[in-house]
Symmetry: C2
Subunit: 200 residues, 2 copies
C-alpha cells in the first residue's frame, strides 16, 4: 500500500503547477491538476464529435495523466517554442520516476498513456490533444481574452497553433471555435506578438 500512497502524494504537487489562464471569476491562475479534471469532462462531453471513433475511457485516463511531467518542469505556455526538446526530456524523466513508484505494471500502463498522448498518433491521442488545446481557448473566450492579452498573443498565433490539432481531433469543435475566435479578434481580445511572447 505504501508505494501507492507515495505515488498519490507525489501527484499532489501538480496542484502547485500554475498555467497562464485564470478560472472564470477568480484572480488566481489555474493549476494543471484542476485543468486535467476539466479536460476529462470536456472529452466525455465531446466524445460524439471525435474525428474517429475513440475508446473514451482511454482518452479520459490519458488526459488525467498528460500533464504529470510538469511536476518537475512546471507548465510552459503552448506558444513558447524554444527549448521544447529539453523540456520534453525532463518531463519524460519525471513521469518515469513518478509512475515507476506504482507496483504490478500499473505505473507502466499510465506511463504508456502519457507517451501515447505525446506521440499524438492514435485516434484517442488526437482527440485528447484537440480537447487540451480547446479548453484554454474556451476559457479565454469567456474571459475577454485574459491570457492572450496578458501575454501579448495574437489571433494569428492562436489560430496557427490550435487550429491543426483541434481540426484533426474534433473538426466540429474547430468549426465552432473559428467563428468565435474571429469575433474575439474584432473585439480586440488579442495581443500583438510584437509586444513579445513571454519566455517561461
Amino acid at each position: 500500500m505504501q508505494p501507492i500512497v507515495d505515488f498519490i502524494l507525489e501527484l499532489d504537487r501538480l496542484k502547485g503547477v500554475t498555467r497562464k489562464t485564470r478560472p472564470l471569476g477568480l484572480d488566481r491562475y489555474e493549476n494543471s491538476a484542476e485543468h486535467s479534471w476539466q479536460l476529462a469532462l470536456l472529452a466525455l462531453s465531446l466524445a460524439p464529435y471525435a474525428d474517429a471513433p475513440v475508446d473514451i475511457d482511454r482518452v479520459v485516463r490519458m488526459l488525467l495523466v498528460h500533464d504529470v511531467g510538469e511536476i518537475d518542469t512546471g507548465d510552459t505556455m503552448f506558444y513558447v517554442e524554444d527549448g521544447w526538446e529539453a523540456r520534453k526530456a525532463a518531463e519524460r524523466a519525471a513521469v518515469t520516476r513518478i509512475f515507476g513508484r506504482l507496483p504490478n505494471g500499473d505505473g507502466e500502463r499510465l506511463r504508456e498513456l502519457w507517451e501515447e498522448f505525446e506521440a499524438g498518433e492514435t485516434a484517442e491521442a488526437r482527440f485528447a490533444h484537440a480537447v487540451d488545446r480547446a479548453m484554454p481557448v474556451l476559457l479565454n473566450l469567456a474571459n475577454d481574452g485574459q491570457s492572450w492579452r496578458e501575454n501579448g498573443i495574437s489571433h494569428a498565433r492562436v489560430v496557427a497553433r490550435v487550429a491543426p490539432p483541434i481540426r484533426a481531433g474534433c473538426p466540429a469543435l474547430w468549426s465552432y471555435l473559428e467563428g468565435r475566435l474571429e469575433a474575439a479578434r474584432r473585439d480586440g481580445w488579442f495581443g500583438t506578438d510584437e509586444r513579445g511572447a513571454p519566455r517561461a
Copy 2:
C-alpha cells in the same frame, strides 16, 4: 456545440469551491476540482484492492462528477452533520440543472453516476466512497494533521466517520490507515471535539 461549451464553463466554478485540506507545501486550501482529479488517479492505482471487482472506468467517471453539486452549495466538511438533507437536495438541484445542459442523454448518464455515488450501493460507488474518504486522510497524514488540528477534529471522530466506508470499499486500505491514524494520534495530530467542530 454551444450547450457543451456552456456546460464545461459552468463546471469551471468547481475550481472555486474550497475544501478544508491544503495541498502539500501550499498555503491555500484545496479545491474540489483538483481533488476530483486526484481521486480518479487514486482509484486507478487502488483498483486491485477494491472489495469487489469494479468497472474502474465507471468509478473514474463517478469520481470526476461526484462533487459537481457543490458548485451551488460549496463544500461542507464531512464531519458536519447538521443540515445534511437540505444540503443534498440543493446539490441534487444543481446537478440536475448543470448536467441538464448536455444534449443527447449525455448529461443524464452523468447525473446517474452522481446519484449512484450518493446512494453508495454498487461495488463501484462503495469503492469510490472509500477513495473519497481516504484521500484527505492521506493528505493530513502527510501534513501533520493540518485540517484535523485547524478544525478541532478528534482521532475518535475521524475513525468513526471514515473507517466504515473505507473498510467497506477497500479493506486493505483501511488496514494500512488504521495503524497510521493510531501513530498520528500518539503524535498529537488531532484536535479535541470539545473545541467544537466548525459549522460550514
